[in-house]
């Protein structure tokens, strides 16, 4: 600590402030010099190897296919568009992974605290197994051992109109017909109605203390109103069903095995970590709180929702944020099983074809950096909103 200044009658170097100053100047010099040295080496190397710099390659045709794309993409499209496709793939898998992992984590965390001995043991086994095995191994397992062992398209497993085979999961594809606009209108109407209901219920509760199950009723409202409009419009949806043909499946929507493997591995793995966070959060709420709530006459589910959970969330949110960040970053492992996300497309194929190492690797790091930053900004905002307000 630099505040333990010694009396200044000593020599110049004995003064802590001076020493700190000298040390920092040295450090800065080293950092600047190292940066300059590395940069000049880089330029010399790039010149020697004839590698051009800059992002002009973004406008050139990429020439490689990307199997999973949510926007139009063909081999004739540019590297720039390939980058956008990969970016969307990374976002989609991260978002779905976060949602699924949270659901799994909450269920498993509660299960581990269950009073039912068997349930608690099973949850413990799940958590301890998945946490202690590398994620990459789990991805390989789902992709090469489980999904690859599924039957060929012609022997697909069938449930209702769904098909399951080694090419992926096929589901009916809903196609909107004439008059679907009316249904959308009904859906929006139902959402407006339920929001007003929730606002009204909250106001009435603060005024009179009377309880109204607003959330369940609004769920009913949304389903009910939408259904009525669906009926009025004459059910304007047709389903494109997946059909088995000799070697493949035609029609329907498909979730490719790469996507399924990455999603399952990411969410079950991160779910195990979230389970432990949830458990720790709930255990951190003093038992006296539960007892107090009971003596006030709150029912068990209301005790959980109004007393225990809000307090547990304060403990849960910060580590949960890191788990979400980890999941988003771990989606990069999809590159190992050919899920076309950012690392696979940009740092894999694009780097190989163009040799633009600095640009591609730098771009990837920038994207992940901003992704991490936005997740943590959002979660910090939420954390602040939930945190204890002390006076």
């Amino acid at each position: 600590m630099s505040d333990n200044t010694t009396p200044s009658n000593n020599s110049f170097l004995n003064d802590a402030g001076n020493r700190a100053l000298i040390f920092q100047i040295l450090l800065l010099a080293i950092v600047v010099f190292a940066g300059y040295y590395l940069f000049s080496n880089l330029q010399a190397n790039l010149d020697n190897r004839g590698i051009s710099t800059g992002f002009s390659f973004f406008n050139e045709p990429a020439g490689f296919p990307i199997l999973i794309h949510l926007i139009e993409y063909t081999e004739a499209d540019t590297y720039g568009r390939a980058f956008v496709v990969a970016l969307i793939n990374t976002f989609v898998i991260s978002l779905l992974g976060i949602i699924l992992a949270t659901i799994i984590g909450v269920i498993m965390g509660l299960a581990r605290l269950s009073k039912n001995w068997l349930v608690a043991r099973l949850a413990t086994v799940y958590i301890e197994t998945l946490r202690n095995i590398p994620l990459l191994l789990q991805m390989f397992f789902w992709y090469f051992a489980v999904l690859a062992a599924l039957p060929a398209p012609r022997d697909s497993y069938e449930f209702a109109d769904f098909l399951l085979n080694k090419r992926g999961i096929y589901s009916p594809n809903p196609i909107a017909q004439d008059g679907f606009g009316l249904v959308i209108f009904g859906f929006i109407l139902s959402i407006v109605a339920s929001i007003s209901l929730i606002v009204w219920a909250k106001k009435r509760q603060t005024r009179t203390g009377l309880w109204f199950p607003a959330y369940w009723s609004s769920l009913g409202l949304i389903v009910g109103i939408t259904f009525i409009f669906l009926a009025i419009a004459g059910f304007p949806i047709e389903f494109d069903l997946p059909q088995k043909s000799r070697f493949n499946v035609t029609g329907g929507m498909v979730l490719p095995p790469e996507f399924v493997a990455v999603l399952v591995a990411l969410s079950t793995y991160t779910g195990a970590f979230i389970a432990e966070i949830v458990r720790a959060g709930i255990l951190s709420v003093n038992w006296g709180q539960t007892e107090a709530a009971r003596s006030l006459g709150l029912r068990d589910n209301m005790t959980q929702r109004l007393i225990v959970l809000p307090q547990a969330l304060r403990v849960i949110i910060p580590p949960l944020t890191s788990q979400y960040l980890n999941l988003a970053k771990n989606s990069s492992l999809g590159a190992a099983i050919a899920y076309p996300e950012l690392v696979a497309v940009v740092m894999g194929t694009t780097l190989n074809q163009t040799g633009q190492a600095i640009e591609t690797i730098g771009l990837c790091m920038l994207v992940y950096g901003s992704l991490s930053l936005s997740i943590s900004v959002f979660m910090n905002w939420y954390n602040k909103k939930m945190s204890l307000i002390e006076r």
């Binding site: 600590m1 630099s2 505040d3 333990n4 700190a20 040390f23 920092q24 450090l27 800065l28 950092v31 590395l38 080496n41 880089l42 010399a44 190397n45 790039l46 020697n48 269950s114 009073k115 039912n116 001995w117 068997l118 349930v119 099973l122 301890e128 197994t129 946490r131 202690n132 095995i133 590398p134 994620l135 990459l136 191994l137 390989f140 397992f141 090469f144 051992a145 690859a148 970053k329 771990n330 990069s332 492992l333 590159a335 190992a336 690392v343 740092m347 780097l351 190492a357 600095i358 690797i361 990837c364 790091m365 992940y368 950096g369 991490s372 930053l373």
Partner: protein, 366 residues
């Protein structure tokens, strides 16, 4: 005549409140929901356990030299047997694997020597941290005392995994401490250098760091100077886990009450004296669980070197799974890998709990 009260012997407690029956009632069938959950769990166990046991043990083939030997319909463990040496040592020459074994035995003996009371712990630590790595390096790489040279590109399997993990851990530990101290320092330039480094590294996935290490480091070095790939990957892993270690250590530093810093200052200790003698021992003890957690995740993360083309334990398993003579043994390979990783990681986490209890000095509020 006086009536003397003679108590009759107490009845045994009802079976419904003690013993196995009561336990089952209380823990498994206490409410309708619980009954449902119990039956549901039993159903899941029924679905999973018997087929797995049948596959892994009853119908398994344990010996044989080719896929043809596996006719029982269960697991083909013979596959693991045939490939075992590759899984452990990678492509390290068979005649030289004794060098790896010797190094492992040496390490075990030296670590085991900690248990002997009369040995000077300081010298022993120095021997492990300074002398041993040099000895081990020459044992692995060869080139002196007539030992055959073994290129690092041949290193692989569990040997490489452990090597990456151990070196990453040992090297990232001091780096993490320095970064954490820097981040807490009151010198603005030193602080911002550390903050920028830590936050940049923590924001990106390990894969990008590994790609950077294997593709970009050569571009940044002067012509003619080039590290081999293993060293570059090691640098990447060390920087990566150093940043995480720094945050763990920072947590411990923040938990030390201000009075400890002030007391150290009041004693007239210099900055480094007060850190090494007073603050760090307490801070590090507090964050043992965090440190072990980052060790465990580093150990699991070493599998990513497979993506930049190195064949560690998982990489060797993956390569063997693609052997056309052994088609259909994928699950066995992964099961074996999962078992080994699980034992090591679970063991580490249990060890950290034991260590925590051992170092507990009773300041915790109960």
């Amino acid at each position: 005549m006086a009536i003397i009260f003679k108590p009759s012997p107490s009845l045994p407690p009802p079976v419904t409140s003690v013993g196995a029956v009561a336990w089952v009632r209380q823990n498994l069938f206490s409410s309708p929901l619980n009954i449902f959950l119990t039956l549901f769990s039993l159903y899941i166990l029924y679905l999973l356990v018997p087929p797995v046991i049948e596959w892994a043990f009853i119908n398994a083939t344990w010996e044989g030299s080719s896929k043809a030997a596996c006719t029982a319909g269960g697991a083909c463990w013979a596959f693991i047997g045939v490939y075992f040496d590759q899984f452990m040592y990678g492509l390290y020459p068979d005649s030289e694997t004794w060098r790896i074994n010797l190094a492992v035995i040496l390490l075990v003996v030296m670590v085991g020597a900690f248990a002997i009371k009369s040995i000077n712990k300081l010298y022993l630590s120095l021997a492990i941290l300074v002398v041993y790595p040099i000895v081990a390096y020459f044992l692995f790489a060869g080139g002196i005392f007539g030992l055959e040279v073994v290129e690092t590109s041949l290193w692989g399997g569990l040997f490489l995994t452990v090597l990456l993990g151990v070196i990453g851990i040992v090297a990232s530990f001091p780096l993490g401490i320095v970064l954490a101290l820097g981040r807490r320092s009151e010198m603005p330039i030193a602080k911002s250098v550390c903050v920028v480094f830590i936050e940049t590294i923590r924001a990106v996935p390990l894969i990008t760091i590994l790609f950077m290490a294997s593709v970009m480091i050569p571009l940044f070095l002067p012509e003619g100077l080039n590290f081999n790939k293993l060293l570059r990957v090691l640098i990447g892993i060390t920087l990566f886990s150093g940043a995480y270690m720094a945050e763990v250590v920072r947590g411990g530093l923040q938990a030390i009450p201000k009075g400890q810093y002030e007391a150290a200052d009041a004693m007239g200790l210099t900055y480094w004296q007060s850190m090494i003698l007073v603050i760090l021992p307490q801070a590090l003890k507090l964050v043992i669980p965090g440190i072990v957690n980052s060790f465990i995740s580093l150990f699991k993360d070493t599998t990513l070197v497979y993506i930049v083309g190195m064949f560690d334990f998982l990489g060797r398993i993956q390569a063997a799974n693609h052997d056309s003579n052994w088609l259909g043994t994928t699950v066995e390979g992964y099961a074996f890998a999962a078992l080994i990783y699980w034992i090591i990681c679970f063991g580490m986490s249990r060890y950290s709990m034991a260590l925590e209890r051992k170092l507990e000095t009773g300041h915790k509020r109960n």
